[in-house]
Structures are given as structure tokens and as C-alpha cells.
């Protein structure tokens, strides 16, 4: 109706596109502020990426700093430090994936076997809780628990063993990261699998039961296949973020004693960029991470599309 009226008023002047824009004027007023926000805070910074190809001088600004071509990248890839950081990132992520990925799945399956609703609800309430805490808080809880005078070391000493320095021992730090990361998020991570399980057609279980399948076989042949699409999706997504090893966690738990095993790309960018104000090098590292991440997420999407016939976007 509105477009008809608009059409009458200025038949010759306005194209269909223009009348359509006028018709939805209100919609534009609503979403344009968000678009402006994203232009300023997400798109304008891309201009700052040029400093990865320059030698950034704070007093000269981005524009006037001299170009240095790929020097920053050459420096990074030849620096031992960066290679250590890259190795740490990939290793921590991979360990977290191997040990952490199956746990929410198994947890969801076990939870689904529980008939007592009160017990189930209690376990969910307790295990979801750490997800709502910041890593600052959770790191405080972890340090209190595994620190020199914490519960773990008190038990070890009482058993007549040597205390373990989880926070400063280069052998123990990564396992500590993996375990605490799992404890914080496994409960919450199970929700999406519980949703997948509740979506499985119950008739299948009844049919299996009639055929005499035991509960374990039902899990293997019905529950797990029913969860397959979401498991694959989560796995591929996880792989695509291999250069994210959990900044918040590492940043709030690490210390100079364990930099050689714990320093990851994001913490390195923070220290080089924000603390040492070496903007050019930090930005170059950021570009490396961004490009790899972008390639991985696009490949992940095409893989999911090929295998499961669905897309992330």
C-alpha cells in the first residue's frame, strides 16, 4: 500500500529501489546506528593493519611512518621466540582438543541415563556454574587450589610426597591448563549435546529394545549417531580456531617462569604490542593469526557443507 502511494506521487522520478528504500525508512533508522558502530569499531581498524608493513613511529602516526615492506614478517618468522609461541599455541590447543573435546559428549550421555531428576538438575547446576565466572576469578580459585599451600599440595605433603609447583613447573603447567580448562567448561559444553540427544526420535530406542538391544548398544547405535552432526560441527569449528589457545585462561595463570611453555600468540601480541609498544611487530603477528584463522574457518565451513549438507553461515 505504501509503495503504491509513493508510486503515484512521483511516478517518473523514483525507481522501484528508491521507493522501496523510502518504504522501509523506519527499518533503516533502526539498523543504521549499529552499522555505523561496526564501521568505526570493526572496519576502520583494518586501515591500521598497514603498520605491519611499516616501521611504526608513535609521534608520526600510521600515515607518516616509513614503509618497510615485509621486513616485520621476515623478522617474525626468523625469530626463535615467535616459533616457540606458535608451537605452544598449537600444542595447547591440540591437547585441549584431544582431552577436552570428548568429555562434554560423554558427560551428556551419562547425564541422559540419569532418571532421578533432582540428581540430574543438581549436577547440571553445579557443573554449569564455573562457566559464569571470569577467568580472573577462576584463575584465583585455581591458584588457591593448586598453589603451594593449596588443597592438592596439602594432600600430597600429608601423604609424604613432594609438593608440586603446578604454576611454575614447565612440565606441569600445560597439563594444569588443560585440566582446569576442562573443569571450567565441560558442564556448559554438554548443553548443546543434551539438546541433540533430546532431539532423537524415541521410537528408535523402542524399536531397538524390541530387537533386544542392550542399553550400551542403544547408545552406540542410536544416541551417538543422533549426535553425529553436532559433534562434527563442533569438532570442525574447534579445529578452525587452532591458533586460539584461550587467551583469558593463559593470561591469568601464566608467569615468566613458564613463558617458554605457556606463551601463546595472543599473549605474545599483548606483551609485544601493548607492553613493549612494538606495534608493527605485534600487528604483523596479528595478521598472520587472522589470515590463518580466516582460511581455516572458510575451509571448515566447506567441509561441514560437504559432509553434513549444512553451513555455518
Amino acid at each position: 500500500m505504501a509503495s503504491l502511494r509513493a508510486g503515484h506521487r512521483s511516478t517518473k522520478l523514483s525507481s522501484p529501489l528508491w521507493s522501496n528504500i523510502k518504504r522501509y525508512k523506519f527499518m533503516y533508522i533502526l539498523f543504521i546506528p549499529a552499522i555505523i558502530y561496526f564501521i568505526i569499531f570493526s572496519y576502520v581498524p583494518f586501515y591500521g593493519l598497514t603498520i605491519a608493513f611499516k616501521k611504526y613511529m608513535a609521534f608520526q602516526g600510521i600515515w607518516d611512518s616509513p614503509w618497510v615492506g615485509l621486513d616485520n614478517f621476515r623478522y617474525i618468522f626468523s625469530s626463535e621466540k615467535f616459533l616457540t609461541v606458535l608451537k605452544n599455541t598449537v600444542l595447547i590447543h591440540t591437547y585441549a582438543l584431544i582431552f577436552g573435546f570428548p568429555i562434554p559428549i560423554l558427560f551428556a550421555i551419562l547425564l541422559n541415563e540419569v532418571k532421578n531428576q533432582l540428581f540430574k538438575k543438581t549436577i547440571q547446576t553445579v557443573t554449569y556454574f564455573p562457566h559464569f565466572l571470569s577467568w580472573v576469578v577462576f584463575a584465583g580459585i585455581v591458584v588457591n587450589f593448586v598453589g603451594p599451600t593449596g588443597v592438592i599440595n596439602t594432600i600430597l605433603v600429608n601423604l609424604g610426597m613432594q609438593p608440586l609447583n603446578f604454576l611454575t613447573d614447565t612440565e606441569l603447567f600445560r597439563p594444569m591448563l588443560i585440566v582446569t580448562g576442562i573443569i571450567k567448561e565441560f558442564g556448559w559444553g554438554a548443553i548443546i549435546y543434551l539438546a541433540a540427544i533430546s532431539g532423537i526420535d524415541q521410537e528408535l530406542y523402542e524399536a531397538a529394545r524390541v530387537d533386544g538391544a542392550k542399553r550400551l548398544r542403544q547408545i552406540w547405535h542410536i544416541t551417538l549417531p543422533g549426535m553425529r552432526p553436532i559433534i562434527i560441527l563442533m569438532f570442525v569449528l574447534n579445529l578452525a580456531s587452532i591458533l586460539d589457545a584461550g587467551f583469558d585462561q593463559v593470561f591469568n595463570l601464566y608467569n615468566p617462569a613458564v613463558y617458554e611453555v605457556a606463551d601463546i600468540i595472543d599473549t605474545y601480541v599483548y606483551r609485544v604490542g601493548i607492553q613493549s609498544t612494538d606495534y608493527s611487530i605485534a600487528t604483523a603477528v596479528g595478521i598472520f593469526k587472522g589470515v590463518v584463522g580466516c582460511v581455516l574457518i572458510i575451509s571448515a565451513n566447506s567441509m561441514v557443507r560437504k559432509w553434513e549438507g549444512r553451513s555455518l553461515w
Partner: protein, 311 residues
């Protein structure tokens, strides 16, 4: 409403299943309960330990660090942290940032999501992608830092509100909700002569209360737990939000930030140790989360469900 229906059907089905007798053998069931119980303990005990320490007499901590209930109950650690100005001030800053920030988050996200919920709007695909793309790629920390410096947001509390004003994920969540509202509702409102603004205000937003609550809580918890923006973009420690002060107390072990022992307290009577203070500060920062936890759990789970349906 949909969720409730699902729950009842699944409950019915479960009853039917157990009526059919597809139970695990009792020993398998016992093992399952045991494993889950242990997992629950593993997540619960470290938190309980901090809680107990925060309420215990300092001397007891060395004697019995494994406590799960307070030993010689005392509030002195809390008295200490409340008597120093910095933690209470940062608490007020965070309360304010969370309230104002969440309001702006919700307004910008809901308006953007509603404005882009009609595929007929010219440029719909382009503008939608402009919002979703930052979820997949970003310029990174340093260019963002330089931007904030150039527009004068460093050391301004606005950086805590404007950083992440609209989250692409929450945008998608809300837009999908708006999609699910039948178009007939809007049409009949416009036939009744309601303006578009009235329709949005009086009909669409009231219908969207569940999703507004979910997304609002996502944002609010995000603000409450945010230490990163404060740590990196605010150097003036009188403007630090709670999590940054907390970080300097518990991670940098920086008791100096708490200020000297206040004059109102007699130094000889100060019976708090760093362990007490850290534990009390942690509990203090977590308390609002604990108080809201029943709501948080309910609405967060809902949000994950809506998000996962879309896939």
C-alpha cells in the same frame, strides 16, 4: 513455551521408556551416578574451599587449608576489603557500566536485529553481512588500540560500554526470534493505524521479552566479567572496573592496591592474611553472579538452545 512442551513430551516419553523397562543394570546405573557425583565434586570443591577460607580466621588457614566449611567463622577479611576504598569504588564502577552498558547493548542490538529482520529491505544481505563478518575476522588488538587512542577513548569509562556494543552472535539470536513472529501481527497493527514505532514498542518488544532477557543477561554477565577492556584501555587505576582490581589483588598479588591498612582498624587487631583477602575478594566479585544464578542458568540455556537450533 515451546521448551515447556518439549520438556513434557520428553518426560512422558521417558516414563514410557522406563515403563517398558529399558533400564541399565543396577551396577551400571550406580557407576553412572558415581562418575557424575565425582565430576560434580571436582567442580564444586575448589569454589567451596575459597568460600570457606574467606570466612575463616587467618590462623586456621595454615593449619587446615583443605577446609570446606569456615574454621572459626569471622568476617574480618570482608571488613578489611570494604574498609579500603578501591574495591568498593571499582564495584560501583562495574555496577554502573553493567547497567548502562547492557541498556545500550540491548537497544542497539534489538533495533539492528528488528531493522534487518525483513529480507525485503533493500541492501538486507549486504548490511547483515556487515554485522556478521566481524565475528569471523577482525583487525586484531593493536589496530583497535590505535583507533581507541585516536578517538580519545583510552582512559575513558566509555570504552567499557562501547567495546562490543553489538555482538554479532546476539544479533543473530534476536533476528531469528523476530523472524519467528508471524507477520500478520504487524500487518494487523498497521491496519489498526499504529505507526511502525508504536508497533515495535507496544507489540514486538513486549512479545520479545524472553529473548531480550536472554540476550540482556549475556551482555550483563559479559560486562560483569570483563577485565580485558579495563586492563588494556584504562591506565588510571581510579577508573578500574572490579575485575581489574580483583586481578591485581589475586594474580599480581598486589596488596598495595588495596591501600594501606585503614586507620579505622587497629593494626594489632588485623588478623587477615593475603589468602583471606584474596578469597574474600573472589567471593565478593562472584556474589552477584551467585544471587542471579537461577535466572542466569535458565536464560543462558535457553539462549544456547535457540542458537543451536539455527545451527
Amino acid at each position: 513455551m515451546n521448551g515447556a512442551a518439549e520438556v513434557t513430551t520428553s518426560k512422558m516419553l521417558k516414563r514410557r521408556r522406563s515403563a517398558l523397562g529399558t533400564q541399565n543394570p543396577w551396577w551400571a546405573q550406580a557407576i553412572i551416578y558415581l562418575i557424575l557425583f565425582v565430576l560434580g565434586l571436582i567442580t564444586f570443591i575448589p569454589i567451596l574451599n575459597v568460600l570457606a577460607i574467606s570466612f575463616s580466621e587467618a590462623s586456621q588457614i595454615r593449619l587446615n587449608p583443605m577446609m570446606l566449611i569456615p574454621q572459626q567463622f569471622t568476617l574480618s577479611a570482608y571488613e578489611y576489603i570494604f574498609s579500603t576504598p578501591i574495591l568498593t569504588r571499582s564495584f560501583l564502577i562495574t555496577v554502573m557500566v553493567t547497567a548502562v552498558g547492557t541498556f545500550f547493548n540491548l537497544m542497539f542490538t534489538a533495533f539492528a536485529a528488528y531493522g534487518l529482520s525483513k529480507p525485503k529491505v533493500p541492501g538486507y544481505t549486504f548490511f547483515t553481512w556487515m554485522i556478521i563478518l566481524p565475528m569471523l575476522i577482525g583487525a586484531g588488538l593493536i589496530p583497535y588500540y590505535i583507533l581507541l587512542k585516536n578517538i580519545g577513548l583510552i582512559d575513558s569509562l566509555w570504552v567499557l560500554i562501547l567495546g562490543g556494543l553489538v555482538s554479532p552472535f546476539n544479533f543473530i539470536l534476536m533476528r531469528n526470534f523476530f523472524w519467528s513472529i508471524p507477520e500478520g501481527i504487524e500487518e494487523s497493527a498497521s491496519i489498526d493505524g499504529a505507526s511502525e514505532l508504536m508497533t515495535l514498542w507496544k507489540i514486538i518488544l513486549p512479545l520479545s521479552k524472553p529473548v531480550l532477557a536472554t540476550v540482556g543477561l549475556f551482555y550483563a554477565v559479559g560486562h560483569w566479567n570483563d577485565y580485558f577492556n579495563g586492563l588494556i584501555f584504562i591506565n588510571d587505576n581510579t577508573k578500574w572496573p572490579l575485575q581489574v582490581v580483583l586481578r591485581s589483588i589475586i594474580i599480581d598479588q598486589n596488596m598495595m592496591n588495596m591501600g594501606a591498612i585503614p586507620q579505622s582498624m587497629d593494626p594489632s587487631k588485623v588478623v587477615v592474611t593475603p589468602e583471606n583477602i584474596k578469597a574474600a575478594a573472589i567471593i565478593f566479585a562472584v556474589l552477584p553472579i551467585m544471587l542471579c544464578y537461577p535466572f542466569l542458568q535458565k536464560y543462558f540455556v535457553k539462549g544456547i538452545m535457540i542458537g543451536s537450533v539455527k545451527g
